[in-house]
């Protein structure tokens, strides 16, 4: 019983990371029809920021806004050049551009942060374990679940309940009409990309305590986030939530049940899911791609 609970919480903490990373990817894909394969780089940048911030002795909780800010700044610069010129291009061109950039960023980060695996020294407040039905569980993973929940809800409120969110949703359905109301949609798009990058960064900062930080993690996270977004249904918030839960649980439990074939089992399940439901778990209200 306690064992099952611990595994479920393990899966949930992984799902929370996938959710935050996937949301950043999916909001840009659905609003701007832009595939950003450099999203994993924002994640890894956030992880490195957290590792160094935790070691610096500054107030630990600032690591998360700092990671958000660092990745958001990188996103803002990339949005001006070269992303902006590629929004109207084909997906293949976007894939080539952003994949190429991700390779460059991977090299830059390896050069700047080294090739070794860096595990952050977790702040005291987040260290240790809690006992759940007599089984120890790392406190930090509970923190990830809580943070994923809070940030997910905040993002949902922002997109669903604010006027800015309404502008974003309207731009998805009819960009020209939003412009005809006097709203500069290019600035809306830039803000969405910055938000997406920031989300990638904060996911990385949260994930560093669980997955550490090392060259190649950017690609691993990117692939998982892509699977999350596609399995959930492109461009819907609920879809990304569903996708994160499915991928998080599938990977966690396949590691438990078929340790030798964990990835093969989990990804076969995803492939089967997509064959059964090509539009993902939650089909978008309108196709953007």
């Amino acid at each position: 019983m306690g064992y099952a609970l611990v595994q479920i919480l393990n899966a949930l903490s992984f799902s929370a990371l996938l959710l935050l990373t996937g949301l950043g990817l999916s909001v840009v894909l659905s609003l701007m029809n832009f595939i950003n394969l450099a999203h994993g780089s924002f994640y890894l940048l956030g992880s490195y920021v957290a590792v160094y911030w935790f070691a610096s002795g500054a107030p630990w909780w600032l690591a998360f806004p700092m990671a958000f800010a660092a990745a958001a700044l990188a996103g803002a610069l990339l949005e001006r050049f070269p992303f902006r010129g590629f929004y109207a291009r084909t997906h293949l061109m976007q894939v080539l551009l952003t994949y190429g950039l991700s390779v460059i960023f991977a090299d830059l980060m390896r050069w700047g942060f080294g090739a070794q695996i860096l595990s952050p020294e977790l702040p005291e407040a987040l260290q240790g374990v809690v006992f759940l039905l007599d089984i120890p569980f790392p406190l930090y993973r509970l923190f990830i679940i809580a943070a994923g929940l809070v940030l997910g809800v905040l993002l949902w409120l922002l997109l669903d309940r604010t006027l800015w969110g309404a502008v974003v949703r309207a731009s998805v359905s009819d960009r020209g009409m939003v412009e005809a109301l006097g709203i500069d949609t290019r600035r809306v798009f830039a803000a969405v990309l910055v938000l997406s990058a920031g989300l990638g960064g904060i996911s990385g900062a949260l994930g560093a305590g669980m997955l550490a930080a090392y060259p190649g993690l950017d690609e691993e996270v990117l692939v998982l986030a892509l699977i999350t977004v596609v399995a959930g249904g492109l461009g819907t918030f609920r879809g990304t939530v569903a996708g994160a839960l499915v991928v998080g649980f599938a990977l966690t439990f396949s590691k438990l049940w078929f340790p030798e074939f964990a990835n093969a089992a989990a990804f076969s399940a995803m492939a089967a899911l997509l064959l059964l439901r090509p539009n993902g778990l939650v089909a978008p209200r309108q196709r953007q791609v």
């Binding site: 006027l163 309404a166 502008v167 949703r169 309207a170 998805v172 359905s173 009819d174 020209g176 009409m177 939003v178 412009e179 005809a180 109301l181 006097g182 709203i183 500069d184 949609t185 290019r186 209200r285």
Partner: protein, 243 residues
Amino acid sequence: MSAARDPAAQPVLSLSGVSAHYGAVEVLRGISLDVARHEAVAVLGRNGVGKTTLVHALFNLGPSLGGRVRVMGQDVAGWPTHRIARLGVGLVPQGRGIFPNLTVTENLRLATVRRRPGAWTLDRIFETFPRLAERRASFSGTLSGGERQMLAISRALLTQPELLVLDEPSEGLAPLMAEEIILGTLGKLAAEGLTVLLVEQNLTLALRLCPRAVVLAEHRIVFDGMSSTLLADRSLVSDYLGV
């Protein structure tokens, strides 16, 4: 703009020699048209003569253009759509262009993002269209055709336009609803001094609202004059408007 020129005397909209192409296909040829402040002008013509392209040309929403478009005296060549709209031009596009995944209130509030000063407020809209007030929390995708049209017009009004451009507002509406919206709602707005450019297929309604009519045929203007003159010219009406 020189200070000596009275801005009120300038046309709010002035097209000269405007042409438009979709690839090699010409959709507008040498269109010249001035709309003065407080005028109500109907743009008529059969399907496919370029009426919607003309609307898109004003807002730079369509294909590349030749010629010159001036809005409120400013040459808007190459301007992004939002800057043109901010000069005080409201759009009710063909098919209404409402955002179905937004509520009625959200649709309306989007028009107030810019906070242009003006007489229209959400309260005044809800007074004018009590039907929209009743449905304010509904997703606009669930509205009836008439309600959608009221929403599209209300949204355009909340941008506080001096010129309101409507592209086939009667399309898909029951005759009574079309009459109510064009003669009732738009008639009242025009009487209050709003400049109206009404692109329509419904000849009778459009000409009852607008004292001046422009007829497009074969991608160019074949008539520009008083609506009464147009109505009296049976051959023009039957040749170009198919009535």
